[in-house]
Symmetry: C2
Subunit: 466 residues, 2 copies
């Protein structure tokens, strides 16, 4: 009998004079439906099981491309596009490493993504071990010459994943910097928050004009074992890495739309990336991002009336090796002024705990409305603006497209990231559904509004911006 | 100023008229000293770092044997013995598996311990997948013929590790039973409580008169992936396993003693096993068992006066592949009547939660004394008697030697058991020290007593025994 009572969030929205009460009700309905909806799980299960690992350039990635287009079609998306772009590919071969002295022991390793191979017979050399990347950089002249350099710097666990950037420099820049210093090869402690032997890959600098050396990541216990052994005496390691490179390969960005009912040329771009590393099945990275954004848009598309603006879901085709962001911008330059917002889901499938709006967005009444709709999901509106919404939308961001971040709890993400353990059994269906609930309800609110984040940003006084 | 007050446990012991108050005080002192003692950690670190993995028959096992004798000597143990026995050895070679269809994907596997190798080119075959061992046994005639059989039965997590016996039948008997039914090879879901891709090895039946097939264990996500894929269509797998066998090899049981001050010919045998699988560094299985019992005995040996009876620590030399228990009994048959008690630590390094005494032991006043000394460690006296104190003391038990069990929390033990992840970083030093505290204080009480567990067992009415 109290059906006509408005929720607190609806009242707040009305008072703010922005979102219609009906919009809030619809957003709340999407949110609550999403919490019990299994579409994101089914998409994740389908992609990881029926396609499996899908490295750029692999036959699996080609199957994934067809899968993506077919998925959009099956779910009722329209204006489905498969946009091809040039992307040199790298394919892993056999890899192994062993401690040779003080005693023989196999070491769990994985070659860094796009690493150079070793000669076929491998590289055997004495070890120069450094406990931090900074220690390696500060090493005296000649200390690395001809050595297999080992960096054992650990990664710090943090809810927002902030430890990744700090520790990741060993992987991103380590091989080039070690090469400059004459090293023969580099082994890094995996960029990992786990205590597992399963090593973490991830892209390293390579390509035209880059002078580098073969490089791989060690399992965490192996790195710690080497650190202990190095304190007792000299070490010697043998490393074999094989790989091939195809400079003429291609990749694809695949998209589908929920067409806007009133302003279809105004577009919100959301998505995740379809490619994965070749180890594991890319469940958390990033089948779930594809699944979350696709399921959220599908729920919106199933409404009796589409929101005003178009929602486009993009399955980006080369995040891990880089390239989708630039390719997407290249293909959509003319359209950039009409892309009103971009967002990406690419930090696993654990719960969202915060929303970051574009700079200036917090001042708009829609922010309060969104905060009210998201609060029951235990998501707060962060006072900090979104600065980097994701690697695949970085191109759009660089061209001025406003972005949001729905911040996922990354506390456990880097236990599995880029490993054979990035598999479906690490996905929690309840947290996955919470992600969909947040994306569906928030994106709906923006899509059915006239909010202009560019104008809001322009209105931010310089001193108040971050 | 209350220093002369007795503790509750001491009062209980006095009232029971058994242990001298001085004994209780000494046991409590050992217990409290052990909680802050790092010897067990140092032994574990030393063995896992400086020796590493130590499979029976490996050069590392020979180094471990010397390490064990040297460790006893360095710690002041006496009557140090290295007892050699015949033990055929098995050495792992290169191993790999891949899904061939419906699409190619590498599978994380490890050959079961002592498995047959495949032909050098591997075995490629269609898959017959069963969700339980019972389903395989119940399969119709011919269903396994020429197939690679996959069993995906999971293991249940339990504090007392009870899930291991149930699930472990796939590993212990699976290859022989699948061979009887004409299978070409067997892959089992790892006998594991984790969700990790790291596969678990462990011994399977093989040797003279055993008809079996090549067999390996899959990582957990891989087993689940195959289960999902098998529900959708046929699977094909290629498996390669290499290994060599040396029927003439040897192993060693190594022991050292804290000589009894009054009845040195009455012996308490405690220990763990020195050998490990070749994957990981055998930290939880069983460097910590060796370390806990050695450190406990060392603490007792450091007392101003040794207890009445002799405490002998045995580092058993072939638990994983079997043989140390029989060898130890063979070498000590004449001494069996004077071995008053045996105990083994071989379930990792997590906290002890219960003490099981030999049948009839609970009726003796010493049980109450021990319960009082152990209670602050959060250890209760189990009403059930110890029936199987450990694989390496099973030979002594079969000859009538009473045994105890200090039950370790095995909730997380089977996450790492027999894997590359059985490494030092899984050992919690605080829980490790709690183990030493329990062993040192309890073994001291028995060693300085006249308790005769054989007589107590003989006094148990048949109807009351278990």
């Amino acid at each position: 009998m109290f059906r006509s009572l408005l929720t607190a969030a609806a009242v707040a929205a009305l008072m703010a004079g922005t979102a219609h009460a009906q919009d809030v009700k619809t957003a709340e309905g999407l949110r609550d439906k999403a919490l019990r909806d299994y579409l994101a799980w089914d998409i994740t299960e389908d992609l990881t099981t029926n396609i499996g690992p899908r490295l750029v350039g692999s036959p699996a990635m080609e199957r994934a491309k067809d899968w993506g287009a077919a998925k959009f079609k099956a779910l009722g998306f329209t204006n489905i596009k498969v946009e091809e772009f040039a992307k040199p590919s790298w394919t892993r071969g056999e890899e192994s490493a062993e401690l040779v002295g003080p005693y023989p022991m196999k070491l769990a390793i994985v070659g860094l993504g796009r690493t150079l191979p070793t000669p076929a017979g491998g590289i055997e050399a004495d070890v120069a071990l450094f406990k931090t990347y900074a220690d390696m950089i500060a090493a005296p002249d000649g200390a690395l010459k001809g050595k297999i350099v080992v960096i054992t710097q650990p990664m710090v666990r943090a809810q927002d994943g902030a430890g990744y950037g700090v520790a990741g420099i060993s992987r991103r820049s380590g091989p080039v910097e070690a090469a400059k210093r004459g090293a023969a090869a580099l082994l890094i402690r995996s960029i990992s928050t786990s205590d597992s032997t399963v090593p973490h890959t991830g892209v390293t600098a390579n390509g035209e004009g880059v002078v580098t050396i073969p490089a791989a990541a060690l399992g965490v216990p192996e790195a710690e074992q080497l650190e202990r052994l190095a304190a007792k005496g000299p070490l010697r390691i043998k490393l074999k890495l094989a790989s091939t490179f195809d400079p003429k390969d291609v990749a694809w960005n695949i998209s589908g739309e929920i067409k806007g009912s009133e302003k279809p040329d105004e577009v919100i771009v959301i998505g995740g990336h379809l490619d994965s590393w070749d180890v594991g099945t890319g469940a958390l990275d990033d089948a779930t991002g594809v699944a979350i954004t696709t399921a959220a848009a599908k729920l919106i598309g199933d409404l009796p009336k589409h929101p005003k603006r178009t929602i486009r879901v993009v399955m980006f085709g080369s995040e891990e090796s880089g390239g989708s962001a630039e390719a997407y911008l290249d293909a959509h330059k003319a359209e950039v002024p009409k892309i009103v917002l971009a967002g990406e889901s690419d930090s696993g499938a654990d719960r969202i705990y915060a929303l970051k709006l574009p700079a200036g967005g917090g001042a708009h009444p829609l922010a309060g409305t969104a905060a009210g709709v998201l609060a029951p999901l235990k998501i707060y509106l962060d006072r900090e603006p979104s600065t980097h919404g994701g690697a695949d939308i970085a191109g759009l961001e660089s061209a001025g497209v406003p972005s949001i971040s729905l911040e996922q709890d990354a506390s456990r993400y880097f236990d599995y990231h880029h490993t054979m353990d990035d598999t479906l059994n690490k996905v929690d269906p309840v947290q996955l559904a919470q992600n969909v609930a947040a994306w569906a309800s928030f994106i709906y609110l923006v899509a059915d509004s006239d909010i202009d984040f560019r104008a809001l940003k322009a209105a931010v006084p310089a001193a108040a911006s971050h």
